[in-house]
Amino acid sequence: MTRQTEGNPDAQEVVLAARNVAKSYGSVHALKGVNFDIHRGQVTTLFGENGAGKSTLMKILSGVIQPTTGQIILDGQPVHFANANDARDRGISIIHQELSLAPNLSVRDNIFMGRELRGPMGVDFAEEERQVRRLMEELEEEIDPLTPVEELRLGQQQIVEIARALSVDSRILIMDEPTSALSASEVEVLFKVIRDLTARGVSIVYISHHLEEALTITDHAVVLRDGTMTAYAPRADIDLEWIVRNMVGENYDLGSPPDSARGQVALSIRNLSVPDQTGQDLVRNLSLDVKAGEIVCIYGLMGAGRTELLETCAGRLRASGGEIVLEGQEISHLPIGERIARGLALVPEDRQRDGLVQTMSVGQNLSLASIRNFTRGLFTSSRTERRLIDDSIRSVTVKTSGGGAPIGSLSGGNQQKVVIGKMLATNPKVIMLDEPSRGIDIGAKAEVFRLLAEGARRGLAVIYSTSEVSECLSIAHRIIVMHKGRISAEFDSTVSKEKIMAASGESVAA
């Protein structure tokens, strides 16, 4: 990159820079030597797939974790952040995807949480309120300082987070997927605030999966892939295609669609709608048929409604309308256990929270969903159970010392295989997997996909969701792209990555 004349974003002073920053967790290299600059009063966007190292880099820049090697340079001086508070004291704040506000407290109390202004009579609420009013005026937002945060819309809550960062004189603001939960008009407001902030000399680091949206606001783009920085360029030099090419690269092979025989329609979702607590539809009038032996991939951004769709089919969430038909039988009134017994199994997205019972052994986790299969009368048969566990361990190739080992002793990939093995042990006809590759390494990923391909050859209908394009173009016969609760596009396995990403993006679909 060449540094040029006035007016070029690169000519602005560098406030924060990363030099050869690397981070390892044991043998896992989350970041492998990243260099980039953050310029005063500019927006720098980080692009990258899940697991590319974006969050790790953000955590390092905001002092949450320390790099294994490499340097952070603030205002030309090498610095070492002891923790997040240390970084904040030097003007670096981070706004996480999940907001860290106390919903029951007022805007004022949230902004001054943990550093209340002391007056002669305890907390000086009047002074706090005055300062919050001034902040809100600066941000041109009409938010009353005394409103409880839970009464604000999500977009306004984000503004409160920004106000809190500004109230400690942050010069560098890191925003992790700030628009993922916002409506289009709220995104407009947020972008206006970001422009105001940059005009005042605040630097913004921005992470987003909405590529086009990010392109409208950013001044620089940094692309990460597998812990390495693959590209760095100012806005003028880049376009959507450039980002996608650098994000995805030509990486590993996760297999190809198996030549399995398609049978009857195994699962038929008809006009399904799923509301959230406020009554807004997360899944809107969606219809989808999956045949026996077919592998369908559902691609979509966060909040597209993939998880809700799968959890409704499994029976965790209630639909507000529509039908779920398994092999010709309507099942949407049945409890989860009955759906599993009839052959519909879900491997949930969050295996720690929804997939595993941490207090039980590997074997007990594997047999949990099929207890009925080894119960004779009142009692379970430990011989049948042992056989079932041993078969499962072998068929999904779990690396463990045996069925009695504690589940916590396994690696993430093997834990995921246990969750998959648990559901496969119920002899399902349709298996749904929500982000089956989340948090597991590439080797384990390939093995999971091989398992699914094998299942399809035996006539199993497979549905898996993913937010990584490279996983769409592996074993899936059909790729469904979801956007805001609807199917926005449907492709066969010959489609290009660029087309899939475009179909999931906000502005393209609109």
Partner: protein
């Protein structure tokens, strides 16, 4: 790590596991040894039988409590249900007046027992419904039921105690005191009841599908639910069993005293919780077993009885019991804190 102590057994014994699980057992041995040394009256068959029949009441309660705690809940109402059921049994022994028919019914003892257990189960089921369907936190739901049950027991008797539970030959309802006084093969009936309850609960936990459901939904309710475990049914069932066992304990106590008072069983819920905790169960659910809980109940019972025998003030007994509980929880957190729990 050997923190699988409590999950239903699968493999053989290992020394480390035995030592960790055995801490309540070693504590019991130590208690017996110390008091036998201090008092010649302690280490006698008759004393052990007397102490055991006292432990039976707490022991039966703590089996129910164990099931609830394995589910990740707590049941504060067991002491009150015990009193309510005792009073109900007492009322039935005195005769049930049916005004509209103009008769007084004297149900036979077996009917009194069945009805009393049904009442206990119904109150327990109320706890379960509050927790499972109305999402009331178990602590609050059972706290409320604790007060209501105690209040109803007081209302039923106007605060008085039913003293004559022996029944009358002419009315055909004698034999209520059999439960509290008689012996089979020289063993008090109450101890046999405890043994039967414990064995049944142990079989249920280790061998039945329900037991597995209970461990799974206590360890991670969301994962259990997604694996097809009927988590609400499990919840209601454990509170119902706890209520029914409270009724059994109430019957045993009323029979031992041949009287039923509305203030019986006050703070017994705390003793039951203590027994479960000393027995190595985790209050967060999913870990624990009948064997440990029984040892916990005997540790508490034998400790306080020993202190009485050597003449220590009952105030000191309270201090010792408290210290044992804190020590037990400390050991639990060392045991479970070493791994296994989510990071």
């Amino acid at each position: 790590m050997s923190a699988t102590t409590t999950a239903p057994k699968q493999d053989g014994f290992s020394i480390g596991r035995l030592l960790l699980e055995g801490r309540a057992f070693f504590a019991l041995i130590a208690i017996i040894a110390v008091f036998s040394f201090l008092s010649p009256n302690y280490f006698t068959v008759s004393n052990f039988l007397i102490m055991s029949s006292q432990v039976a009441i707490y022991g039966i309660l703590s089996v129910g409590m164990l099931l609830v705690i394995l589910n990740g809940g707590i049941d504060l109402s067991v002491g009150s249900i015990l009193a309510l059921c005792g009073v109900c049994a007492g009322a039935m022994m005195q005769g049930v007046t049916l005004e509209w028919a103009g008769v007084i019914l004297y149900p036979p003892v077996w009917a009194v027992v069945v009805l009393t257990i049904a009442i206990g189960a119904a109150v327990g089921a109320l706890n379960g419904v509050l927790v499972a369907f109305f999402k009331v936190p178990p602590f609050v739901a059972t706290l409320g039921v604790m007060y209501v049950a105690r209040g109803v027991a007081l209302l039923m008797t106007n605060g008085l105690t039913y003293n004559n539970l022996r029944g009358q030959e002419a009315l055909g309802n004698t034999g209520f005191n059999w439960l509290g006084f008689n012996r089979l093969w020289g063993i008090p009936i109450s101890v046999i009841v405890l043994a039967v309850v414990a064995v049944l609960a142990g079989l249920m936990l280790s061998r039945s599908a329900f037991g597995r459901w209970l461990y799974a939904s206590g360890g991670n309710e969301r994962a259990a639910e997604l694996s097809g475990v009927p988590v609400r049914l499990v919840k209601i069932t454990v509170y119902t069993i706890s209520g029914a066992l409270s009724a059994v304990a109430g019957l045993v106590l009323a029979s031992q005293l041949t009287s039923a008072g509305p203030t019986a069983g006050t703070t017994y819920e705390l003793t039951a919780i203590a027994a479960v905790v000393i027995g190595g169960a985790a209050l967060t659910g999913g870990r624990g077993g009948v064997r440990g809980t029984m040892l916990g109940a005997f540790v508490i019972g034998f400790l306080s009885a020993g202190l009485v025998i050597i003449g220590v003030s009952s105030y000191w007994q309270t201090v010792f019991t408290g210290a044992v509980i804190v020590l037990a929880v400390l050991m639990n957190s060392i045991q479970y804190g070493r791994g296994g729990r989510k990071s």
